[in-house]
């Protein structure tokens, strides 16, 4: 009977993310062919992703387009459009992350042809776990952590913070009111990810934001 069981075993050895990764490669090629540099912005809900993107929309204007991922509502896309950029809203209808297929679908609806378009920012669904395994075809993955969330979050969510190129610590205008230890957060992020680049910003007061936008710009001009 044991021998029968061994005979009935079928090896598969396939990465479960392989389908997503194929769509991510398609996205990377499509965007690369059009010379569009792509960001994937990941954080928990309320960390300030849309406020960061509103600043970026004012800085880059029509040179930037935005894909907004939310469980429901077009509210974030409307905020971005008001700030001066083309925006496409993906309503995931319950899913806690964007995958490369959903982004591929959105790209099919967007106008990627204007010659001035150089940058695509994808705002992921607010979540520190689920988006971390999904390559969307981005060139730069940004993890945003805001002061009210606490400085202990980096090692609690290592799948995200080990996979980012850039750590943005947002809401630094709240430093006098909170116990968040910025140096500790940076040290712990480097312990997962020694090459990570760090920006400390306040999207609300604009502190550090222009420096960040100029850094992003250096990657594609």
């Amino acid at each position: 009977m044991c021998d029968d069981t061994v005979d009935q075993k079928v090896d598969i050895a396939t990465s479960v993310m392989s389908r997503n990764d194929r769509f991510a490669a398609d996205n990377r090629k499509l965007l690369g062919d059009k010379d569009i540099y792509t960001l994937n912005l990941i954080s928990s809900p309320g960390a300030g992703k849309t406020t960061v993107l509103e600043f970026m929309a004012r800085f880059f204007g029509p040179r930037m387009a935005v894909i907004e991922g939310d469980i429901q509502t077009r509210r974030d896309a409307e905020r971005i459009e008001k700030a001066g950029c083309q925006a496409w809203q993906i309503e995931t209808g319950g899913a806690c992350h964007l995958d490369a297929h959903a982004v591929n679908h959105a790209l099919g609806h967007m106008n990627l042809d204007p010659s001035e378009l150089e940058l695509l920012a994808i705002e992921n669904v607010g979540n520190l776990i689920c988006p971390s395994g999904y390559d969307l075809g981005e060139n730069m993955r940004i993890g945003l952590l805001s002061l009210p969330e606490g400085d202990d979050k980096i090692l609690k969510y290592p799948s995200l913070f080990s996979s980012i190129n850039v750590l943005m610590i947002n809401k630094i205008d709240l430093i006098p009111h909170l116990d968040f230890d910025v140096d500790r957060a940076i040290e712990e992020c480097r312990s997962l990810n020694p090459d990570v680049l760090v920006f400390t910003v306040s999207a609300k007061t604009a502190e550090g934001m222009e420096e960040f936008c100029k850094f992003v710009e250096l990657n594609f001009i």
């Binding site: 598969i12 050895a13 997503n20 899913a95």
Partner: protein
């Protein structure tokens, strides 16, 4: 007090991953048949909750025509190299520092894996 029905399981990415697993298994086998066991490997940096995956996969496998297989999860450790003393070590817990020198300066070498390794068919289905 009765908590509101949030339909919360829809919000797990493990549900879509369970669908991806059945798609991979179906295409490897070329057919849908009841399975005895499904063997997977999950790394600590894959962002996957093994228990959520088990819950979702049990439902999805049944709906997709693969019966009620046992999901056997091989949970690996991440491999790291200490950037201060070059020691290589393994861990699931990223609060743990280098066992040789205590440094937390390190580079992660692996730990993101999530694979369907193999399936075992029910007797009489080979």
């Amino acid at each position: 007090m009765v908590p509101p029905d949030l339909n919360g399981w829809l919000f797990m990415h493990e549900l879509s991953l369970a669908h991806d697993m059945t798609r991979i298994i179906g295409s490897a086998l070329g057919r849908k048949i009841p399975l005895d066991r499904v063997n997977v490997t999950i790394g600590p940096l894959s962002g996957i909750s093994p228990e959520s995956l088990r819950f979702c996969f049990t439902e999805v496998a049944k709906i997709e025509g693969f019966g009620e297989p046992e999901l056997v999860i091989n949970r690996t450790r991440a491999k790291l190299i200490c950037l201060d003393c070059d020691a290589e070590y393994e861990t699931k817990d990223f609060y743990q520092s280098c066992p040789d020198c205590g440094s937390i300066s390190r580079r992660i070498l692996s730990g993101r894996e999530f694979t369907v390794d193999s399936v075992e068919l029910e007797e009489g289905n080979d």
